[in-house]
Symmetry: C2
Subunit: 187 residues, 2 copies
Amino acid sequence: MRHKSFGNMQCPIARSLEQVGEWWSILILRDAFHGLTRFDEFQRSLGIAPNVLARRLKTLTESGLLERRRYSERPPRDEYLLTERGRDFRPVLWALLAWGNKHLAPEGKSVIVVDSETGVEADPVLVDRLSGRTLAAPAFRSAPGPAADDHTRRRHASAAHKRLAAGHTPDTSSADGARRNRGVRVP
Amino acid sequence: MRHKSFGNMQCPIARSLEQVGEWWSILILRDAFHGLTRFDEFQRSLGIAPNVLARRLKTLTESGLLERRRYSERPPRDEYLLTERGRDFRPVLWALLAWGNKHLAPEGKSVIVVDSETGVEADPVLVDRLSGRTLAAPAFRSAPGPAADDHTRRRHASAAHKRLAAGHTPDTSSADGARRNRGVRVP
């Protein structure tokens, strides 16, 4: 089920947004990570209209982030469990959490990420898995990948042009470079 | 400007969603990271209705992710620049990008994150800054922070109960534990 169409759908960010659908979907995923599985549990947690919740659960199921499982035949009752695709979304939520804690919590943090065994607070940061370096501009940037079409290439070429005009690092990469360099990566 | 209100607004994820507002806002931020600053540039890139774009730029400015700067007096023209709060949102975008590349790009990656100097592809992963360990369940989980209210504590207590019922790691942390443990962290 598609909800919106965002210009160039090659962009993995736009595709992700399309799949997850709407803000409510993200809060449903958040609650699923907290162990909620049943319609009435989600409804109680979110205070959301039943028809909206039903629609969002359907979308998340069709997008493969949740799977529906019948847990009672009489009366017929389903629960919703995270799939691998759904579980993989958690870093996005924790990146949002870290951003919210930094910028939108003047009274202090209400929710944190902790080590499950020790309870020690974690400090979520996005890094490059191989080098361990923090992923931040200008040291890192997005670039066309091997499957990029002309639109995606033009968009990044124009961004490179703007960076040069602003006196930033010259753009030395290319999809070919990226392809070659993939040999370097540990699988 | 507030758009929606998501149940318990203590949750930093819900707050973040409220500030960023809508999917279009995220794609505007994506384009801002590509160096776009002007109304017509965003419009060309996104193929978005001018009134929608104007509204989203206004929201992002009021939320402090973009700042408006006049670059021409005659005719009056403004541009939109990322603030520190806006630039800090980039890891969220790259986490979405990594998820989209893993799950929604059967034809290969169209956009990747690269080292700006070498062009080598990065592999974005969320880790705990101190220990370097990958942030993933069940080794990590979210928990009430020092500013948590009763609602937030109840939500996490119920999640801990569900984890126990499912045979997962017992919940040994608490806000007090988190507070104590914060002394361990390098600032």
